[in-house]
Amino acid sequence: MMKAIWMEIQCEFLSRLRTPRYSIPVLSFPLMFYLFFGVILQNGKLGGVTPAVYVMCTMASMGVMFAPLTGLGAGIAAERGLGWMEVKRASPMPPIGWFLAKFCGGMAFSAIVIAALFLMAATLGGVRMPAAQWATLGGALMAGAVPFCVLGFVLGYLVTASAAPAVINLVAMPMAFFSGIWVPVQFLPHFVRSIAGFLPEYHVAEMSETLAGATGHGSVMSHAQALIGLTIVFVAAARIVWRRDEGRVHAG
C-alpha cells in the first residue's frame, strides 16, 4: 500500500516534468504580471505597502489558484476523458494513493510559483522581510493552495477534457477579479465585496497581504477559518462527484 502511494506520486511527478509545455504558462503568467505591476510600475502605495510587496502577494495568490486548478482540473479531466481512469479503477489501485499524488502535484506546482515570485520580489522588486515573515507568508500561501487542489479535483470530474481549460479560466478569472487580484477590493463596488467573502481566492489574497504587512480586511485568523470552511465544502463536493462517477457508464 505504501509502495503504491509512493509509486503513484513518483509517476505523477515524472509525467509532469516530461510535459513542461503545460506547466510553463501557468508558472510564467504570475511572474510576468509581477514584472509589469510589481517591478516596472513602482509608484505609490497599496494597502500601506509598496507595489513590490502588494503585487507579490496578489500574484502568489493567483498562482496558488491557477496551478492546482490547471494541474488537477485539466489533468484529471484528460485522464478520465480518455478512459485511462477506468483502467486504474478496474485495478486494485488504492484511491488514496492517486488522490495524494494529484494533491502533491498541485502543491509542488504551487510551491514552485511561490518560490519563483519570492525570488523575483527579493531581487528585482527589492522586497526585504525578516526570514520568519517570508516563511510565514510562504506557509500561508501553500495552505491557500489546498482548497484549490480540492476544487481542481471537483472541476476535473465535472467537465470534459476538451472543455476543461476554458471552464477553469471561466472560474478562475472572475474569481480573481471579485477577490481583488486585478483591482484592490476597496475600489470595487460594495456588492462585489459581499461576494468576495465566499471566494477562497479573496481569503488567500487578504491573508497574504496582511501577513506581508499591508492593512487588509479582517484578521489572518478569520481568513484561515473561512479557508478551512470552504475546503470542507469542496471536499464534500469532491466526494459526491467521485461517487457519482463510479456509477456512470457508457453503453457498448
Binding site: G81, E86, S91, P92, V249, A251, G252
Partner: protein
C-alpha cells in the same frame, strides 16, 4: 468451478437495453470468448464484471464477491478499450506502478516476458507502435498475477502480426492456469483462442457453444429456394438444420448443404430459384440453438 459470473443481469442506459437477462459463467482455466457485433452488450458485460458499473437487476460476482471489492480486484487483470494512456511514462514505469497495486505481483522481468516487451522497457508509452501499446496494456493486466483476465477487444485495430503476437501471450497466460474472458467481433479470434464461445446480440445470448461446434457451424451454408415442401418436413431431413419462410422463398441453413440440396430435390423435383451462400455467423448459430431446443 465457476470463478466469475453474471446472473440474470439486465442493464439499461435510458431507452437502450444493453443487456437483457444475461447469464454468463467463466470456469477456472477456461478461455471464454464473448462474440458479437458492435453494440451487442459485450463492453457492458465486461464493465459489470469489473465493477465499473452495477446491474439494474441480477448480480455480477467474481470469486463469489462483488467485483468492486478490493479483494476481488486483486485477482482480476483488466484490459479495456482506452482512448489514450499517459504517454509521458516509460513502459517500465507503467508496469511498476500497476504492479504496486497488487499484493503478490509477478516479478518485473516475468511480466515483461509474458507480454513480449523485452527491449522496449525504457521507451515512453507515446513512442510505441499500436501493437506494442496493446501489449503494454496486456502487461498491466497480467502484472498482478491475477487468476482471471478480462480483455475487452484486445486486438481491435491491430494488424495481423500484432494480433497473432497478442494471441500468443494470451495463450501463454492460459497455459499457466489462468482464466480469460475476452470480447471480440472476430469469429476467427474467438475460434483461435476460446474453449467456449458465447454469442451476444442485442443484449441477449444468441448462442453458446464450444469452439469446435462453432467451427463446424461456421461452415454452414444457406440454401434459398422456392419449394412446395413444408418447414417441419425440411427440418426433419438432416441434423442441425434451421428453416424459415421468407415470402415465397424458403431459407434453410445447414452444415451439410450438398446433402441437403440432394435430399431436397429428391423430395421436390420442382424446387426452383436455388441459391446457396455461406451463412452469416448469426445464422450459423441459429442452427445450433434450434437444434438444441
Amino acid at each position: 468451478m465457476v470463478i466469475a459470473e453474471l446472473r440474470n443481469v439486465t442493464k439499461r442506459f435510458g431507452p437502450v437495453t444493453a443487456l437483457a437477462g444475461v447469464d454468463l459463467e467463466i470456469a477456472r482455466g477456461q478461455l471464454l470468448a464473448l462474440l458479437g457485433p458492435n453494440g451487442a452488450g459485450k463492453t457492458t458485460a465486461v464493465r459489470l464484471l469489473l465493477g465499473l458499473s452495477t446491474p439494474d437487476s441480477g448480480a455480477a460476482r467474481v470469486f463469489g464477491r462483488e467485483p468492486r471489492e478490493r479483494a476481488a480486484r486483486m485477482r482480476i487483470g483488466a484490459m479495456l478499450q482506452v482512448g489514450r494512456v499517459p504517454e509521458t511514462l516509460r513502459v517500465s514505469e507503467h508496469i511498476r506502478l500497476f504492479s504496486s497495486y497488487y499484493a503478490k505481483p509477478l516479478p518485473f522481468e516475468e511480466t515483461v516476458a509474458l507480454a513480449g516487451l523485452e527491449g522496449i522497457e525504457r521507451r515512453l508509452f507515446g513512442k510505441l507502435s499500436g501493437g506494442q501499446q496493446q501489449r503494454v496494456l496486456f502487461a498491466l493486466a497480467v502484472c498482478g498475477n491475477p487468476d482471471i483476465l478480462v480483455l475487452d477487444e484486445p486486438t481491435a485495430g491491430l494488424d495481423v502480426d500484432s494480433r497473432r503476437a497478442l494471441w500468443r501471450h494470451i495463450r501463454a497466460f492460459v497455459a499457466r492456469g489462468g482464466s480469460v474472458l475476452l470480447t471480440t467481433h472476430y469469429l476467427e479470434e474467438a475460434d483461435a483462442l476460446a474453449d467456449r464461445i458465447v454469442v451476444l446480440n442485442h443484449g441477449r445470448i444468441a448462442a453458446a457453444g464450444t469452439s469446435s461446434e462453432v467451427r463446424q457451424r461456421a461452415a454452414a451454408r444457406k440454401i434459398r429456394c422456392i419449394t412446395a415442401l413444408e418447414e417441419p418436413e425440411i427440418a426433419a431431413m438432416a441434423e442441425r438444420v434451421s428453416v424459415r419462410r421468407d415470402g415465397l422463398f424458403t431459407e434453410i441453413v445447414a452444415t451439410d448443404s450438398d446433402g441437403m440440396v440432394r435430399r431436397l430435390l429428391a423430395r421436390d423435383p420442382d424446387a426452383r430459384d436455388l441459391e446457396i451462400t455461406s451463412a452469416g455467423l448469426e445464422e450459423a448459430f441459429l442452427a445450433i440453438t434450434e437444434a438444441k431446443s
